[in-house]
């Protein structure tokens, strides 16, 4: 069944034409032969008409790969056990029914809905797009209203009037969704349409023109990119050919001349360099380079100058006068493995062996003159108080 295939592939059900009719006819053998009208020309979802045709039908959605055994037609109470190809469609009054029931009830013309007695035609049945029928209804209502109520903030003198307009629209939407005062609400919609017919039209035009301008810009950019890519490819080709020729010339020269080979090679290289520079100068600045240059100069002018860099200032004495690091390095078997390691696996990024040596020597001279405590000296301040001020400025865990 194409639906099954679509299920597995997650393919989309498009706004159909002749094609899907063919497919669906073979696909639904249980449904009576006049079932074409169900599946032919189906807009997607209960009133959810997706122009891009990308919204998949609800039951075909990948997340519902596991068709529930509990789905049941509320009219005939058949479930997937009795009818494995059970497919529930939604009416215009948002009631679900299986295809066979729809067929049975509505083939001979409009008939009342078995649940709510609203008169329906067979055509009025759509496949479901959303899991929640409430959502389905709401989306349909909003889609419909959005066609007429398309004013934007710019159309209003101030924020309050805009917000009032939005509130009215929401009010109408709410009424329609929840079946409150339908007649009055429809009257409101009609009135709005009448009053603002011109503006609505203008807005439609505006939206369309905006969309088309976007599309054009995209097109233009894409074409530009292709252009530059093509040009670059061309240049590459030319360069390559030129280089080939030059190499060939060089080989010939080497063959036939009796001058020093090295000098010949050097001469040819110098010539090539000169040619490259000449070409670059000839090209001058392309438009691209111009544009980027312009951007850079503009950025440079508009940036705020950096405040002068103030290095970290503290007053720690690090025993610098007690030692000097030997510039020639040290004879040091301990760090030899790390230093010799060719691939640098043992050295972390930023590892500099001089830092390690410095740390070792610093430790060797630190506190050398401190006399040990004796007796019971009194601590001057609590550790907490001093800790707030003094930072333990150690480098822990440096390799080596």
């Amino acid at each position: 069944m194409s639906r099954a295939g679509g299920l597995l592939k997650g393919t989309v059900i498009r706004k159909s034409g002749f094609q899907s009719t063919q497919q669906s006819r073979s696909a639904t053998p249980q449904v009576a032969s006049s079932s074409t009208s169900i599946t032919a020309n189906i807009p997607l979802g209960g009133g959810v008409k997706d122009a891009t045709g990308k919204t998949a039908e609800y039951s075909v959605h990948l997340s519902l790969l596991l068709k529930s055994m509990e789905d049941q037609c509320p009219v005939c109470k058949s479930d997937r056990y009795l009818n494995p190809k059970l497919r529930l469609l939604v009416s215009a009054c948002y009631h679900k029914m299986c295809e066979s029931c729809i067929d049975r009830l509505f083939t001979l013309g409009p008939a009342p809905c078995p649940i709510c007695n609203k008169t329906l035609r067979k055509l009025a049945f759509m496949p479901q797009t959303f899991e929640d029928l409430g959502v389905e209804k709401e989306v349909a209502v909003r889609r419909r209203l959005a066609k007429d109520f398309n004013k934007k903030r710019e159309d209003f003198p101030d924020l309050k009037t805009y917000n009032d307009y939005l509130e009215d629209v929401e009010d109408i939407t709410f009424n329609l969704i929840n079946d409150i005062d339908i007649a009055k609400t429809e009257a409101r919609i009609a009135k709005f349409r009448q009053d603002n017919a011109a503006i609505i039209e203008a807005n439609i035009q505006r939206d369309e023109s905006y969309a088309s301008s976007l599309r054009e810009k995209e097109e233009g950019e894409r074409r530009e990119r292709e252009e530059t890519a093509r040009r670059l490819a061309q240049e590459e080709e030319e360069q390559r050919i030129l280089r080939e020729i030059e190499r060939q010339q060089l080989i010939d020269k080497l063959e036939h001349s009796d001058k020093d080979a090295r000098k010949l090679v050097a001469k040819s290289r110098a010539e090539r360099l000169k040619q490259q520079q000449a070409r670059a100068a000839a090209l001058g600045t392309t438009t691209q380079r111009d544009a980027s240059k312009a951007i850079r100069t503009r950025a440079a002018q508009s940036t705020i100058p950096d405040p002068p860099h103030v290095p970290l200032q503290d007053d720690w004495y690090a025993y610098e006068d007690k030692f000097t690091l030997r510039s020639g390095g040290y004879y040091d078997p301990i760090s030899e493995a790390v230093r010799r390691d060719a691939d640098g696996i043992m050295r972390a990024g930023g590892y500099v062996v001089e830092d390690i040596w410095e740390r070792a020597i610093r430790t060797a001279v630190a506190g050398l003159d401190i006399l040990p405590l004796s007796g019971f000296p009194i601590k001057e301040a609590t550790p907490q108080a001093t800790a707030a001020r003094d930072v333990d400025v150690e480098m822990v865990g440096v390799p080596g």
Binding site: Q313, D314, D315, W316, Y317, A318, Y319, E320, D321, K322, F323, T324, R326, Y330, Y331, D332, P333, I334, W357, R359, A360, I361, R362, T363, A364, V365, A366, G367, L368, D369, I370, L371, P372, L373, S374, G375, F376, P377, P383, T386, A387, D390, V391, D392, V393, E394, V396, G397
Partner: protein, 356 residues
Amino acid sequence: MSESNTPSSSSSRPLYEGSTQFRNWRFSQEQLRETRTKLSVAAAKQIKDAFETDSARPFSRRSCRGQPGSSSDVSFLAPEEEQLLVKLYVGKVSQLCGHFRFPEEVEATAISYLKRFYLRNTVMDWHPKNVMLTALFLATKTTNHPIPVEAYTSTIPKTTPSDVLDLEFLVAQSLDFEFNVWHAHRALWGIYLDIQSLPDGMVDVSELQDVYRNSAKHVRASRLTDAELIYAPSQIALASLSMVNPNLAQAWGQSKGSDAILPVIDEIKSMITSDGQAPDVERVREVDRRLRICKNPEKIVGSKAYLAKKAAEEAKEQEKRMKKAEENRRNMDSGNPFGDELGSGDGDDPNLDDDD
């Protein structure tokens, strides 16, 4: 790093003196002795009480059954004996590190942690065996040579991850969360490097390697002593060097302008020579035997004293919670759900904090 132009100006503090090792973990001999004695006495008293609780219950596990006052028969460990046990386990740290191939830094850090831990706790409360494992594990983490706890405990027989992890917070807390330690072996390395900068003629490079190796042995021996709790690591390193080649050490010390410190170096040398050996196995075994008897029952999970202590703590917590609930209820009833202004309410209990 120093902003001042004159190197040893009085306004800038030397780096080592900013470290917690210098500020908080530096004692005099007398202080160490006093701390340990005080700790031991206090622990003995507490454990005695715990024994009372423990033996007062009908089915006591203690060897002295059901007789109050029998705990006075138990002799607790003296501070020197405790230190003996700690020393033994300090030696075991070295063995473990060799087994795991941890770098020397890990070993030295773990030993420091162990020593510091037993300045705050007693052996009778926490047996050094598990504390040693936890301290080593913690040291691997703080020195940036971590290994997963499963890998750690799987190689050590009869250990589970929970043995190690249960004590971790206690160890960290006993260290006041001050994990960075300056080590003597690094200072020795520094001396070894800096010696090469001495004017030629003083230093014989071919011998230097052997000198360094032997000095390193003395540094390892110094870890068994209290040296790091009294002296600076640079001083310990110089002392180790002095034990191998006194002239060289003196020359280097003089080049640093530290002549006055030489008597201190001699002190350290004598300390390493006298205390730097592994403890006598027989004595330690005896201490261990006695420890088994005088262990604090409160810390043994499942014993009566342990449960009693837990119950007491629970009761205290419960009381705090009730008080807080009562105060809240009073606030709600009085129509002021956020309570009165700070300090004005008479329901303020200074013992309550935000977590209660």
